[in-house]
Amino acid sequence: MSRPIKSLIIKDLKLIMSQMRLFIAIIIVWGVIMMTSIGGAFFVGYIALMFSFITLGTFTYDETEKGLAYIFTLPIMRKDYLREKYLLGFIISTLPSLVVSLISYIPFLVAGTDIPFLDYFLSSIITIPVVLFLLALQIPLYIKFGQEKRRIVTIISVGMISACLGALGSLYEMAGGDRMEIISSIRGLNIWWMTLLIVLVTIILIMVSYKISCFILERKQF
């Protein structure tokens, strides 16, 4: 890991540890309640989503009192900054979720369940790519609009994406296709293919998101 990225990771972890202790404690308490009442798979998704918010929170801390300008006077290139944020987002959303997924299987193991471990593990962590996708959508918006305006833009962009997908579906149907057929064929995939498909789509989306973020940040003035 390069020195700039390592130093930024340490900075963000220090910020998280000093500022977000309460937030992390709340996530864990809620998580325990949900794990006992709802079940492991949902809980893993919940953990991944909540921890992805923590990554986004570090943008806010960087922005405070024009801190981002100061960061870019240090030996940190703008691409380093973005690489660190994507890496932090990946680590913070993924690692706790994986740990939780493993831990949440213990009760099944103790009870002597016949659910295969890999099936359980894959079905519980399948929400992680979805969370990473949401993170990939949010980061460029944070970079472009900052904390405040980003909220409005998120609502608008989610609405636009939904409208576009709806429109594409309608066009496909007008051309004689059947959108339910596509959904059924995706549903028909076994869990391995489904996981592979989701992971691939997520990787592509993260790469596109990173490129867009680079484009925005390289042109940003402070």
Binding site: S2, R3, P4, K6, S7, I10, K11, K14, L15, S18, Q19, Y61, D62, T64, E65, K66, G67, L68, A69, Y70, F72, T73, L74, P75, I76, M77, D80, R219, Q221, F222
Partner: protein
């Protein structure tokens, strides 16, 4: 070390147009009133804003081509931003350690203690002066070749300003280091700079060696009668006053020798900038 070559930056109601050079082994000052363009010039120097014309080179490289390794040789203080207020100095130690190859943790901590900066208190709870001291110590902590200091003395009391200037003099004891420093407090710059640029309304009004400015510039205060009899060749600027005229010259000795009866004040950055910007 730094070269700004005819750089232009345009905003809706402000235009910066300037050229300046910071040589190795020198302390160069940039002085001007609030809003004169000092911070904009510094931001252009640091690549924080895109310029509309001209070029900026640091260590002989275009600013856009500087690598993280090049930037390790720079220490920066910005007028209006710094480390996240949610961190403490104690939190910053491993960050700076990871960031700079030559970070001297021991010296940095010792300097912080010497300047009475609390290591475990959050930076957001620091006074303005304490924040400024921290930024300066961080800039000095990693054996940088070049310091770029935008208003480092702003918000500091007299004692803290003296401490800071001593630190900078100590820093310059090693050869081939340079500092570019801005301030609106002229006495800070008079004591430390080798040369000074004066900026007003986005333009460099004057560039002069500090010694020349202090030893050869002068302000003549003359009545209307005296003014008419004076040789006007060496006047840089004249200003109508209640008593007659104030005249800025860079040939103080000439007037002292040839017009011994007139009042001539020794040159100072304050007087020069006041005269040049009216």
């Amino acid at each position: 070390m730094i070269r700004l070559d005819n750089i232009v930056k345009e905003y809706d109601n402000f235009r910066l147009e300037c050229s300046m050079e910071v040589l190795a082994g020198q302390v160069t000052g940039l002085i001007g009133r609030n809003g004169a363009g000092k911070s904009t010039a510094f931001k252009a120097m640091l690549g924080l804003i895109a310029i509309d014309g001209g070029s900026v080179t640091i260590f002989g490289k275009e600013i856009g081509n500087l690598t993280a390794q090049d930037r390790e040789m720079m220490g920066v203080v910005l007028a209006d931003s710094g480390f996240s207020g949610y961190l403490s100095i104690h939190d910053l130690l491993p960050v700076l350690d990871a960031m700079y190859k030559d970070f001297s943790r021991k010296k940095f901590v010792a300097d912080c203690e010497r300047l009475q900066l609390p290591l475990k208190k959050k930076i957001k709870d620091f006074s303005t002066g304490m924040r400024r001291k921290l930024q300066i110590l961080a800039a000095l902590s990693h054996n940088a070749k070049l310091l770029i200091l935008d208003e480092p003395t702003a918000g500091l009391d007299v004692v803290a300003r003296d401490e800071l200037l001593s630190l900078l003099r100590e820093y310059m004891e090693t050869e081939e280091r340079s500092i570019v420093i801005s301030s609106h407090i002229s006495s800070d710059l008079e004591g430390i700079c080798d040369d000074v640029y004066m900026i007003d309304n986005g333009k460099i009004m004057l560039h002069e060696d500090t010694d020349v400015l202090l030893n050869e510039y002068g302000l003549l205060k003359v009545t209307l009668d005296q003014f008419e009899k004076l040789d006007h060749r060496y006047f840089i600027k004249t200003k109508k006053e209640n008593f007659g005229y104030s005249c800025l010259t860079n040939q103080r000795q000439f007037y002292q020798e040839n017009y011994p009866s007139i009042i001539i004040e020794k040159g100072s950055i304050d007087e020069v900038i006041t005269m040049l910007t009216v």
